[in-house]
Symmetry: C2
Subunit: 376 residues, 2 copies
């Protein structure tokens, strides 16, 4: 039996770096697997920021020689008293120094007469926003609503991102073919979705060595990670340790943590396999402690536990060397334990967090300020 810290160290050795190209329309929320370097200047040309007359020098009136709309790509030039009417976003002619707002002028035939110089707008020079060759976004950047516009602005249609890991989920237990409902596959699927990964439910299997083995082989072929629940203890019907040993390697079995002690983690070829306890609360707590951060790392997205302080409403006793994680409901800064047993659904139904009783803290009393790991 190993400590939670040792288990986390073993988990930290796994990495997932598969990549794929996605269209920019589908890139929101994905993580870049490449640097984005601009191959153009933005603006691509000297650009007017208003509707106005582009001029080369300050004069009282100008001769209008041309008109430019936004998006036009005309190579014009002005000299002396020549001017060009340029729309907002339009390319200004060569030699443009200022743009005089249209509302500060009157038009007389082909002449623009300036009636006020109160606002003379400068122009956005070519490359003032982004320079050709500049690294705009680093590999590892999460694509969000603020940086996706730059990708669009650069004319990029596809980006290289990390693949979304596929997580194969298997429920085991003869009782699931009788009156007992399969709960854990829904809980695990939800944790997988929370991490931004794709759950693939492969079904329920009986407590049978060969059936479990075949299903795990199928899962490890189809998916990047396999997660099972049930059959992980040491009874005669607990086939998971035997199957993982047969197909690959057990990396740890049993963790000094409650709930969640019976958990097993191993690998089959290079694919990680999490075997969660069958009790619903244990399964969920193991998913929070081990599976969620593991999957977040696979997605290359940032993940940090959110820990707050709260006052404990009642005594909790733990045992030596074990990390205790007790579901609590928070109300006005007070943490009310909701744990009633590892197989009691209402132990977690309304929980907001997990009260952390560290190894060898042994007891926390009513009124003690303790750390709460917030679950949302």
């Amino acid at each position: 039996m190993i400590s939670v810290k040792e288990a986390e160290k073993i988990l930290s050795k796994f990495h997932f770096n598969k990549t794929e190209y996605v269209k920019i329309e589908d890139a929101y929320g994905r993580v870049l697997a490449e640097d984005i370097v601009s191959d153009i200047d933005i603006p691509r040309f000297d650009r007017s920021d208003i509707d106005g007359y582009a001029v080369a020098e300050i004069l009282d009136e100008y001769v209008l020689i041309e008109q430019v709309f936004a998006g036009d790509d005309k190579d014009l030039e002005i000299n002396g008293n020549e001017c060009v009417l340029v729309a907002t976003g339009g390319k200004v002619p060569k030699n443009t120094k200022y743009v005089i707002p249209i509302e500060n002028t009157v038009r007389v035939g082909n002449k623009a007469v300036v009636i006020s110089f109160d606002r003379i707008e400068e122009i956005s020079r070519k490359g003032c926003d982004i320079k050709k060759g500049e690294r705009i976004l680093k590999k590892g950047t999460l694509i969000n609503e603020r940086n996706i516009g730059v990708l669009a602005g650069l004319g990029i249609e596809e980006v290289k991102v990390y693949k979304i890991p596929k997580i194969g989920i298997i429920s085991t237990g003869n009782e699931l073919f009788k009156m007992t409902k399969d709960i854990n596959s829904k809980t695990i699927s939800s944790i997988v979705k929370k991490a931004g990964c794709k759950p693939i439910f492969l079904g329920i299997v009986k407590d049978d060595f060969n059936e479990i083995k075949e299903k795990i082989i199928e899962a490890s072929e189809k998916c990047d990670v396999v997660v099972t629940s049930g059959g992980v203890s040491v009874g005669e019907k607990d086939f998971l340790p035997k199957v993982v040993k047969d197909l690959g390697e057990i990396l740890f079995h049993k963790v000094k943590m409650r709930p969640g002690m019976p958990m097993l983690f191993g690998k089959i070829d290079k694919k990680p396999i999490f075997c969660m306890p069958g009790n619903v609360v244990s399964c969920l707590v193991c998913s929070y402690v081990f599976l969620l951060p593991f999957l977040m790392k696979m997605t290359h997205k940032p993940y940090r536990r959110k820990i707050i302080k709260a006052k404990l409403s009642e005594k909790i006793i733990s045992e030596p060397d074990f990390l205790y994680l007790r579901p609590v409901k928070l109300k006005n800064g007070i943490a009310y334990p909701t744990f009633k047993g590892s197989n009691i659904l209402t132990s977690i139904l309304d929980a907001d967090g997990l009260a952390i009783i560290k190894e060898n803290e042994l007891e926390k009393n009513e009124g003690d300020i303790i750390d709460i790991w917030m679950l949302d």
Copy 2:
């Protein structure tokens, strides 16, 4: 021109309450549109929490009369020195008072001899977890990884949830048919995804009254909300105010806010339409301020702005009556403005938040502690 507060008041009058049934496998992250009341007891029967012998009284040895596996639905009864071997999760016979762990016994023929009474487990009584008729989850509850197990445990296959709003997105502007890239539709789509809604991009339209009108009619028929960008000012090519007026009603046009002042909001039949300014920074800021909270409310999910304090790195000057929201990058508690202009992509590329300069604060100086609205 109205204040941001007045605009928010107008927006707050819209509600979205369409519902649909989804399978529990697809229910994670959705919001319940009905109360969930249990029509069963959980456990459905008195349940053993360990592998052991169910007994009616404390004796030294018992006669084994039957065996029960988890999920079995046998109606057994024990009396006197009779015992039944019950697996974890199994239904215990009538009259069971205790379950003696199997490891504390030896089996001799059809007899179970108790070798230690150090652990006598009680059983989980019928309904101790959830009682028939109990309201388990309230209408409006977000389905998460902690409460989805209860739905599964109750045997519920489908739940009534609020529909995911469909948001029609239209970009307008002649320049988008020339050299200028369409950026705003990607930004708006990302905000829509951030809110958990479904973006439907309907394409780019020229600055033409009839083309814009037709596209908006199409969008308002297909979608629950319409969002356009561009053409919202008062120039001759700014057709959005005219089209909204023609098809429905303008509820506000121009807000005392920078960037984002030209924004328009209206309704066509009962469908809301947001007309965002074409400048990329203005479009994004309007999306954060008005669209995101509006959509979050439509999804019935909780939404609260995350405001932190930070020290300003340089002076910001605002104008009377206007709310200024300036993109900033945070580093070691210091907020560095990144705003370089409403049409400069790098104004927002690396921003973490928006510095809030309230109406009539007029200036904030270097070193001032100001409120920052965090964007993630």
